[in-house]
């Protein structure tokens, strides 16, 4: 049984891992160590951002998603394509054909996450008008950024948008729609077509209520099945509901484009996100009302489970934005009903993950901090990674957490060996008292 609480989509293929140290130095939460020649991912720290998948020269990291087979267990399998899905195909292919392609693969229904996004945008507009909110409000659409905040920036939890992600909203609306069509709850299966490992994890943790997501299939998987046939498919009548407002969420900047006028900003790429969050934590950017932050460069089109280069994908998205200009208005009564049914509510409230604490006990933590400082005076400060930890400081932390030893550092090992040799040398020159001659 997989423990859903700590399920992670990002995995290691031990066979392929050569124990090089590329990934450990790139991980934004220092979640990876090399132990016994293989990378190890700390599940508590991992945020599923996919950086290690991108950086690994041996392709030993991968993102676990579901196979298409899983949809067969449901008589009403609904596909929820991510906006980034649209960006994979050649310019000129209509959204209708792409969605038709999903039906062709065996889904009975489709519900666009892009439509979920534009509905959510209306609710965000409403939220941003509230008076006592901590600004900038940080988007909750990217689960890797949400986890990053829980792990590294717990004091910014109050800034996180307390609404569900576009995926969560779409999942609930899709299920409600299917039930209105007469399907029984157990017949309905909701499947996300994902560019993103973090969203696979989000899907696994969706629970079993209205917002339940029964599987996540990668964009790359679906793309490979459709790329050669999608152009030939018939143009279906009115399958697509989404407009430029929702489609734009595929790339960085799309969220703010779908909102009413305001002071907004967008940041993408996990390392840039970190530096912006640091500024926000220090009290800057308070004049910004809403901050869109995405772990992948370019936004979700840069997700590791997508196929197309993100910059090429952006060209595709720009074409679609110009083509689908008609936004289908949403009635306030509908919004009211959805609110009542909890469509915008998050299942889980945000929670500080205190993995950076050195010890549960405050006094012990302080002692450990002092030990780290002492160790750092002796470590070489090269951050070479040979010990299997990303930096000398990280090794020192690992040592005080009893997860590593001083001699894991080759320089420390050498130093200790030298001391030993000196001792051996000194001992070798000693003679038992009975045999010793009186020194002149």
């Amino acid at each position: 049984m997989i423990n859903e609480e700590i399920f992670h989509s990002v995995r290691l293929d031990e066979e392929k891992c050569k124990g090089c140290t590329h990934c450990i130095r790139h991980c934004p939460t220092e979640a990876i160590r090399v132990k016994q020649g293989k990378a190890r991912i700390d599940e508590e720290r991992c945020i599923d951002c996919g950086e290690c998948i991108r950086i690994c020269p041996n392709h030993a990291k991968y993102a676990q998603a579901d196979s298409l087979e899983v949809i067969k267990n449901f008589s009403c399998a609904i596909a929820l394509p991510a906006p980034a899905f649209y960006a994979q195909f050649k310019v000129g292919i209509s959204l209708g054909k792409m969605l038709q392609g999903l039906l062709h693969l065996g889904f009975q229904e489709v519900f666009e996450v892009a439509r979920g996004a534009e509905i959510l945008a209306e609710e965000i507009n409403r939220y941003l008008k509230k008076r006592w909110i901590a600004t900038p409000v940080i988007s909750s659409a990217c689960p890797a950024v949400v986890r990053l905040i829980e792990v590294r920036f717990p004091s910014l939890i109050e800034n996180l948008l307390p609404l569900d992600s576009p995926l969560g909203v779409a999942a609930k609306l899709a299920r409600m729609q299917a039930m209105e069509k007469g399907y029984r709850p157990e017949e309905i299966g909701v499947f996300f077509i994902t560019p993103c490992p973090a969203k696979v994890t989000e899907s696994r943790q969706s629970g079993d209520g209205l917002g339940s997501i029964d599987g996540a299939i990668s964009v790359a998987n679906i793309y490979s099945r459709l790329v050669n046939i999608v152009g030939e498919l018939e143009e279906p009548p009115s399958l697509s509901l989404a407009s430029f407002r929702g489609i734009g969420w595929a790339r960085s900047g799309g969220e703010q484009d779908s909102l009413e006028e305001g002071e907004y900003m967008a940041v993408d790429g996990i390392h840039q996100v970190i530096s912006v969050l640091e500024k926000i934590e220090m009290g800057e950017l308070r004049n910004v009302v809403y901050c869109e932050a995405q772990a992948c460069v370019g936004g979700c089109i840069g997700g590791v489970l997508a196929v197309q280069n993100p910059f090429i994908a952006k060209v595709g998205i720009n074409h679609l934005l110009k083509r689908y200009t008609e936004f289908r208005p949403i009635k306030e009564e509908e919004m009211e009903e959805w609110r009542r049914k909890g469509v915008f509510e998050r299942k889980e409230i945000y929670q500080a993950k205190e993995v950076l604490k050195l010890d549960k006990d405050f006094k012990r933590a302080l002692e450990k901090y002092q030990m780290i400082e002492k160790l750092l005076e002796r470590l070489p400060g090269l951050d070479c990674g040979a010990c299997g930890s990303p930096t000398c400081r990280a090794l020192a932390e690992d040592i005080v957490r009893e997860k590593a030893e001083e001699v894991d550092c080759p320089f420390m090992l050498q130093e200790q060996l030298r001391a030993l040799v000196r001792e051996v040398h000194a001992l070798a020159s000693k003679v038992p008292q009975t045999m010793a001659k009186k020194e002149e």
Binding site: P154, S155, I157, E278, K279, E281, M282, G283, E284, A352, E354, L356, K357, L358, D359, K360, F362, K363, A365, L366, Y369, Q370, E373, E397
Partner: protein
């Protein structure tokens, strides 16, 4: 009683005009507070005030020393700079008052809320300033301010 012992000390230099490293010291302080396990809301106010004090040296002074002492139940910060000093403290504390030149404002700094933020975020603030010599900012943050 040993309760008022300094547990961690950090002392760093700040260089006026060095905008690329600006914020590094406050960032380092944040990491320490996080690792030893002070609550996030406490860390936030320490870090905001520390950052404002650090930035004031970067923006307005020539160089300074940023010294922190972490105790079991409080954090003490002293930022001592060599710089022009502040001629009118009362005026400087007014929200929106700033002498930062336009090119600094264009970078997004110098909105004139630094000193008032420092006052809001800290539990005790003292400023000692001498025209033509420098400014010393002393701040204390208590884990349980009521006590």
């Amino acid at each position: 009683m040993e309760e008022d012992k300094v547990l961690v000390e950090i002392e760093r230099e700040i260089v006026g005009g060095d905008f690329q490293s600006a914020g590094d010291v406050s960032g380092e302080l944040k990491k320490v507070l996080q690792q030893v396990g002070f609550p996030p809301s406490f860390n936030r106010r320490v870090v905001i005030a520390a950052y404002e004090a650090e930035m004031n040296v970067v923006i307005h002074a020539y160089r300074g020393i940023f010294a922190t002492e972490i105790y079991e139940d409080r954090v003490h910060i002293e930022v001592d700079d060599q710089g022009p000093g502040i001629p009118d403290l009362e005026l400087a504390f007014q929200e929106g008052y700033s002498t930062a030149p336009p090119h600094i404002r264009e970078m997004g700094f110098g909105a004139g809320y630094g000193l008032s933020n420092m006052k809001k975020c800290s539990d005790h603030l003292e400023i000692d300033t001498r025209i033509g010599e420098g400014t010393k900012v002393v701040m204390d943050f208590f884990l349980n301010p009521e006590k």
